[in-house]
């Protein structure tokens, strides 16, 4: 019984998983943030150094705050669940 079902499972693996991978390929998987920079982005003026430093400092503080919030959220996080089907 298990032997005779094996080819069916293998076929399902091919149809679903390999079919999904093919769909990802056919759909093109690039996201906006993955796209190469445009010409205007490449030639944009570098930011003023002092302003850039200030900006970096602010961003660092913001990131630290975000990390703290994430850690707090993680402590209270749920396990997650599943989706009922047939």
């Amino acid at each position: 019984m298990a032997q005779s079902n094996k080819p069916r499972a293998n076929k399902l693996l091919r149809v679903l998983v390999a079919g999904g991978v093919a769909l990802a390929g056919a759909a093109g998987t690039a996201r906006a943030e993955d796209k190469p920079a445009t010409e205007s982005e490449k030639t944009a003026k570098p930011a003023d150094t002092a302003a850039a430093k200030e900006q970096a400092k602010k961003e660092k503080a913001k990131a630290e705050e975000k990390a703290k919030a994430a850690a707090k959220a993680k402590a209270a996080e749920s396990d997650g669940g599943g989706v009922k089907g047939w």
Binding site: A24, G81, V83, G85
Partner: protein, 260 residues
Amino acid sequence: MSGAPPGAEPGAPLDPRPVAPPDAVGAVAAAAWRFRWQVELEAEVRFARLAGRIERLGAAPALVEVARRASADEARHAAHCARLAAWLGQPVPASPPPPPPDVAPSGLEEEDALTYELVAACCVTESESVAVLTALLPAARDPALRAALHELAEDEVIHARLGWAWLAVAAARGRTAFLGPHLPAMLRGTADDELFGPADAASEEPALLALGVLPHATKRELFVRSLEEVVFPGLEGAGVDTAAARWWLAGRKAAGGTAR
């Protein structure tokens, strides 16, 4: 739907279990189709939400389109399920079920939360649905039932592929490893304790097959086999460690639904 429900005809069972009366078998089948109606309506809402989230992340428009089409498919499937439940004597409620909650654990970044949702809804649940429909098709003798099952099977294949496609994208971005430890919770939410526990005689009746429903033990066996032979290998191929999921499944199989 034509004539009396198939499977109601008397027939000597091959095993010593007590024979469930045909109306009890019909009631089990009707309840299953009612439950599927609810599942399909929830899936309609879920896929519409997923389409919006995929789009907002800037993913390939083709995947957004697949998710949108899946939502429309599920509405059509729900109508089929409602017709079959009514045919078996249990019309569905007039109002739809409440929208389903998101299932991803809190604390994940949006991209990872979306991956979790798509893996739970598509790679696991829709892949399992394809396995169930594939098993049901050869046993369905009623032409209308057979046509409905066939239509559903074709659509569910596409819905499952959406999840596997997204997982391939996530794998290419190196964002799948986080899933491994979450798999037991995901699977617990997919298959409740009842699936691994004993069932009454009517739920084990082979006559259910002709009504588009798997007998309980067959459903459990198919669920396990699909995980082991389709879902787990697919996840592993995308860089997800399935050790925790396999441990959970082994516990379920050994303890008959009591393992956590």
